[in-house]
């Protein structure tokens, strides 16, 4: 191979070139760091939403936004939480970065995430008998049943699980109305495409356990759990509305959040609960039918809405 010497004018000076390219390199690095922080905030919002939904489901009381914020981001973000629900718990978490140079210099948008889960408790307490299922699975009747069901219709994951768990003839408790049943086996191998994160509560059948929606419309995905069967809760709106209940009332705006229906002064009432201000009147009505402090708070919010309506009709 012939070596060709370059003329002096064609030679580059690597140090100089690096120096010239440095702003671009620094910009690229800063951009990547910024993107990383945005992703962290998003992930914090996702985790916060999940935490809130499961906290409410298990403890049956509203989670504290400040505590959730401390838990997920150790106070590096301004964390807010809104949500609740009756049959379906839905929580929206927002995390706004407040530490770091960029967050201090510029006003950054909050990363939002919504998480929904059916409001059911799977705990067997106080009647836990964890070995009952093993005894049932190993019983001669069950084994015979499996063999016969296998012979008659071939082994299918659904049939086998249904036979073993003894749930074949019972209606699934957690299935929302209109949803199709999905075998845990099928759901387990479903491709996890789409938004990142999300997830179903551990040990929970897949029906009705919805992931998060990208409710801020940023297009950067939520934490959804796409599965092959249609979900009744999947809708273009960020939060699925509960079943509307027709009532002969004065005209109202059921799609507006409560914060827009309650006037500024009434927001200072002790009956106003800011954690429910994102819900529509319809959702609050659904929530108010339940029991417990959350339902009570929903009823109070509805009263404030009605008071505003009453006064505006004067």
């Amino acid at each position: 191979m012939n070596k060709v010497a370059r003329a002096n004018s064609e030679r580059g000076v690597s140090t100089l070139e690096l120096t010239l390219a440095m702003p671009l390199v620094v910009f690229a690095i800063l951009f990547l760091i910024g993107m990383g922080h945005a992703l962290i905030s998003k992930q914090h919002a996702v985790v916060g939403g999940q935490f809130a939904a499961h906290y409410q489901r298990v403890r049956e009381s509203a989670p504290d936004a400040a505590a959730a914020g401390r838990a997920v981001s150790a106070g590096t973000e301004t964390f807010s939480l809104s949500g609740g629900g009756g049959e379906t718990l839905s929580f929206t978490a927002s995390a706004t970065p407040r530490k770091g140079l960029i967050a201090r210099l510029y006003r950054l948008n909050a990363a939002n995430s919504q998480y929904q889960t059916p409001n059911v408790t799977n705990a067997c307490v106080p009647d836990c008998r964890p070995f009952d299922s093993f005894a049932r699975m190993l019983s001669p009747e069950m084994i015979t049943g499996i063999i016969f069901s296998g012979n008659s219709s071939g082994f299918s994951g659904d049939g086998l699980l249904s036979t073993v768990a003894g749930t074949g003839n019972r209606p699934p408790r957690q299935r929302p109305e209109g949803a199709e049943a999905v075998s845990p086996l099928v759901a387990g191998v479903a491709p996890a495409a789409g938004g990142g994160g999300g997830g179903r509560p551990p040990g929970r059948p897949p029906q009705g356990a919805a992931g998060a929606a990208d409710d801020d419309g940023s297009g950067n995905g939520g934490n959804g759990n796409p599965r092959p069967t249609p979900r009744p809760t999947a809708s273009p709106t960020p939060r699925p509305s509960p079943t509307p209940t027709p009532r002969p009332q004065t005209p109202r705006e059921p799609e507006k959040p409560a914060r827009d229906l309650i006037s500024g002064s009434l927001k200072r009432s002790p009956s106003y609960h800011s954690e429910l201000e994102g819900y529509t009147q319809r959702e609050l009505e659904q929530m108010a039918r339940g029991r417990g402090p959350q339902a009570q708070r929903a009823r109070q919010m509805l009263k404030l809405i009605k008071e505003g309506e009453r006064l505006r009709n004067k």
Partner: protein, 157 residues
């Protein structure tokens, strides 16, 4: 007075609660005596205004109580105060007492009005007309549509 009330009502209907409040407060500053109705409108504006910084939340109740201090039988003030207790303060106990008071006052007034009209009908038209009117007196006094709607709402809740 009537002009002031008309102006307040016009502003209120246009949802200009802040302007209505300014008008009321100006009138309060100038006038020696304030009619309870002005104070009732003030409390309504206070509840609906979005400019919540310039007023205290307690001003709403204070305004209604001031109206009742002037005239303790002023029914709109009693009813508004009752709704304020029921819907805003979530105190159905206090609200019920006030509603009962308002109903008693209204009953006297509505009975007087119905009696008067029945006497008019008997004098102008016929006895049958007057008796028919008295038979349907309950239908004349209550908004049946609203009552039915409330019945259904309570039944379905």
């Amino acid at each position: 007075m009537s002009s002031l009330l008309d102006d307040i009502k016009t502003l209120y209907k246009d949802a200009r609660y802040k302007d209505a409040l300014s008008l009321i407060e100006t009138a309060e500053g100038e006038a020696v005596f304030i009619h309870p109705s002005i104070l009732v409108w003030k409390s309504r504006c206070l509840q609906l205004t979005e400019d919540s910084d310039s007023h205290q939340f307690s001003d709403i109740e204070a305004s209604l109580k001031q109206a009742l201090a002037i005239d303790e039988e002023y029914i709109p003030a009693i009813i508004d105060l009752a709704y304020f207790h029921l819907n805003v303060l979530d105190d159905a106990g206090a609200a019920e007492e006030l509603f009962e008071r308002a109903i008693n006052l209204c009953r006297d007034q509505i009975t007087e009005a119905i009696t008067g009209r029945a006497l008019c009908l008997a004098e102008k038209e016929s006895k049958e007309e007057a008796l028919n009117f008295l038979l349907n007196a309950a239908g004349h006094t209550l908004d049946q549509e609203k009552i039915e709607a409330l019945k259904e709402e309570i039944a379905s809740s």
